[in-house]
Symmetry: C2
Amino acid sequence: MKLSDLGEFGFINKIREKSHDISGVMLGIGDDAAATSITPGMALLSTSDLLTEGVHFRLDWSDPVTLGRKSLSVNLSDIAAMGGIPRYALLSIAVPAGFSMEFLSSFIDGFLQQAEKYSVSLIGGDTSASASGFFISVTLLGEQYPDRIVRRSGACNGDLVCVSGTLGDSALGLDLLKSGSYSKEQVIKHLDPTPRVELGTLLAELKIPTSMIDISDGLHADLGHILKASAKGAKICIDNTPLSDIFRNSVSKNSPDYYRFPLSGGEEYELLFTLHPSRLKDAEEAAAKAGTSVSVIGEITEESGLFLASADGSSYSAELNCYDHFALN
Amino acid sequence: MKLSDLGEFGFINKIREKSHDISGVMLGIGDDAAATSITPGMALLSTSDLLTEGVHFRLDWSDPVTLGRKSLSVNLSDIAAMGGIPRYALLSIAVPAGFSMEFLSSFIDGFLQQAEKYSVSLIGGDTSASASGFFISVTLLGEQYPDRIVRRSGACNGDLVCVSGTLGDSALGLDLLKSGSYSKEQVIKHLDPTPRVELGTLLAELKIPTSMIDISDGLHADLGHILKASAKGAKICIDNTPLSDIFRNSVSKNSPDYYRFPLSGGEEYELLFTLHPSRLKDAEEAAAKAGTSVSVIGEITEESGLFLASADGSSYSAELNCYDHFALN
């Protein structure tokens, strides 16, 4: 069946049947707007991400269920980076004429799988025809007490720069997908990233980070955002970036990609945050509880600028392109 | 300048400079998510609408400022249809390579003009490349006390069916735009509709409507949504649909469009609502206060089905196609 046969209302009804409302939803899909509640005393967190075919994903690289999961994951990662608790999602899609209903149905299944896993309710959205290409626009709403929200702007001189999980895996996966030769485990982090929601919320509850961001544009660019917002600088030891076994087994230490991927690869969806050295142990415990790890990769400096150095202290000066979605790649 | 020269971050900074935060915004554009407050005791209202080039708009029909305004207006209309107060907007756009920065800048100006007019803050969104075509996705957040929110499901037997403003103008405008021969005033309601935010909020505050929806799919289809949600029927007098002077001067009474446009034309963005006959005077006063009018076009019936009749009581039976955005037109 094609989507155009089912029509907009038929498709919305199908989504409505599949989605399960969680607490707080007074009125879900099916009216002019959804009505929900936010926990008294908490601030509302809002984020939107676009995923466009040929820019953020290729239909020959990703199965629909995985693409559905990732569409929510990239937004979950943004809420996690604020230390927020995700609550409600709105999903809008534009599809070309003749697009497969089976694909879309599986895509929705993946989206709802991830929503259920993170206790998120799908409460609205829109569907439309597209003259060409599949477009996905997700808005995710979350909540957190105002004094627990972690901004980009609080990094202090002497704070440690920390990162969750491992870096470089997504860039490696994208590179291998382009080459056409890869194993499933080499590309999974690019296609199906794990948003660090539990870690982000735990860190915020314990008021550990002085600043936080998720790595979507690449470590170099995203640390740059923290430094700019905090009006500080940083010294990063490039040999301290955490690498996975898959990464070490796939990339030679002599290849420029060995540093380039972890330092500038986008779409890692790990949390990058700063903390006072006295809170490192707390952060490590929180990470263990959340099923991941925390690595210290450097230090915040009063002097502005981002200084990348090897373990021997020598400066690393390769050009690191920012991962910019306007650059079609 | 092209957008690709400025890059994603440059463009976001430009939007940030232009947008003015209104009360309730703790953290606007520029972090991983926005943080805002909702008035204590109020429910959060959320709605999303997609506008895609070639389906919802054509760049040779609309100037960018007007398109920017309409992108927010269609969402304002959804919040109005709940009786809600609009508060915060997220705007995501995908643009083809080489898209004009001047066009986009004017588009944002139009969006922000409309945001300011309705006291809405632009708090976030996303920008992306598009393989082809301009895509606009807007999420609008609003608020209202739960007992004032107007749903589609409350229409009662004997309620009057009312509509704000006039009908058929948008369908007429679209028809004339397609023909290529029109005056500005004939197409303005299609290109630059006025969302009935003030009327919707007033009606909700006074608890006048038993059900409400905005006319985006056409009177016939949208009244159908109310009837389905309310498990009722309705009798509509097709000679009572309110028509503008422009419409009467543009469409002959002998043309099938004379009834077809007001009954099935989409994108009118008028409010369609039901009320107990004793509240009609209150509704008329509210409409006058909001700078528009209210017309009674029929009555809710216990018996299901939508019966369309002329003033002489004879049944009107022309086929009314639902305005479905999946049908590329």
